[in-house]
Symmetry: C2
Subunit: 259 residues, 2 copies
């Protein structure tokens, strides 16, 4: 098995309302690549959010009493803390310099994934502009997949990735936050090992593994390489609707020993 991760460059600065599918397909062509059936397209969260206009200028945010108190505790801008709370189900950890939440989509994510790098300046203060996660990254991924099929006739898997921190280990890792046409959690239950015994380790986070590899290609300044075309993995949509999208990767809070 051979996987190729081809960085897609030549995608211009994405603006709200842009035809993201068109920009990516043009980027693929301009990068000298050709999209094929069974490719997996990994797209950086940032350009999906930008196309969806998920900007928030902090000068429009008025912090609540809760946000003011929490901002004091974590030593962050109260308006940003308010924006984080608005994007979250609950606080997971709050310490000076650290605010880790359960995002409303279920991801445990520092600052609810709100990003302030590589985006245009705010109106009052350049540093005020924020970029939120897409409203529904699974739907964003499905839309990209459907539009690629409609325009090119190619059936591909689509993963939207983002850089997330983790417990226990230092450094961010690219992980999947939106999935379409791809089995995020590969289930090996019932298989047998090469000695014929039942396998013990059973579930592999395939979408996260491919998202991580793509993240390495994207590098830090994702603006330059905000998409990666992966060839050699045969993606397939799970038959059961409950297994589609990114949700199978999210451990329900009540099953999580580390909250």
């Amino acid at each position: 098995m051979r996987l190729t991760f081809a960085g897609i460059m030549h995608i211009p600065m994405v603006e709200p309302g842009d035809d993201l599918t068109g920009l990516i397909l043009k980027g693929i062509a301009d990068s000298g690549e050709v999209i094929e059936d069974d490719d997996v397209l990994v797209v950086a969260q940032k350009i999906v959010s930008k196309a969806e206009g998920r900007y928030l200028d902090l000068h429009t945010v008025t912090p609540s009493a809760e946000a003011l108190e929490l901002a004091e505790r974590v030593d962050k801008d109260p308006r940003k803390v308010q924006a984080i709370l608005d994007e979250s189900n609950e606080i997971v950890r709050a310490r000076p310099g650290v605010l880790i939440v359960e995002h409303r989509l279920g991801f445990v994510h520092a600052n609810a994934g709100i990003d302030q790098s590589n985006i245009p300046p705010g109106e009052d203060d350049p540093d005020d502009m924020c970029l939120l996660l897409p409203v529904d990254p699974d739907s964003s991924a499905a839309r990209l997949r459907d539009e690629i099929l409609a325009r090119t006739g190619r059936q591909v898997g689509v993963i939207i990735n983002d850089s997330l921190g983790r417990s226990w280990r230092i450094g961010t890792l690219g992980l999947a936050i939106g999935v379409a046409g791809f089995t995020a959690l590969e289930d090996y239950i019932g298989g047998s090992d090469i000695f014929g015994r039942e396998l013990q380790v059973t579930q592999v986070a395939a979408a996260d593994e491919i998202a991580a590899g793509a993240s390495l290609v994207m590098g830090q300044t994702t603006e330059k390489t905000p998409a990666v075309l992966v060839r050699g993995y045969q993606p397939r949509e799970p038959e059961e609707a409950s297994q589609r999208g990114v949700r199978p990767l999210l451990r329900p809070k009540e099953m999580d020993l580390f909250r």
Copy 2:
């Protein structure tokens, strides 16, 4: 940037004392690949442990009182619990069916990474045989790198990977447990984004990202594809000795909010 992950097959069942470098180099040739300068070789923990003879037959293990009590609590074989304790610094979480520890090497790892699939049967009971992590995976990686240089003249990075569970998310992910000739934690502090502001997200777990991508190629039955040759990433040994190996990826317990 284009990364290619080529699965290395045709590596025979590895036995204790085998010349692992030789087996991998032969596997590379038999897979139709040629090793080049600046390649990164990702090797599955399992074949490193096998070559190092890291087998433990549970019929040789006598559980302590602590292991007996803990085994009751986690509903596991007391002899295996003893083996896990012997490989660990401390228990992180213990629940029925779950025993997560800090491995003596610093990894937070379920069952201390002890593996019972795809290994030969135990003497008394087929299911008694266990495979432990390598004694010092960074040294194992460095040895592979040095031997590859000596035998082929090629300067490569080497990563030993293993499948680890994680908090918050379901499914295992391939991560680095041993690193040589590769900067495990890429540091972007001081860089600037495309608008000229200082970057906020600063450290990327590059070795984990490449280990994850390789894990996807290895698939579940790693015996079939226990090594992956990655081309297109320019690995480099960190200049500072303290930044070498896998240790920069491990969050010290006192800095970890999720223990």
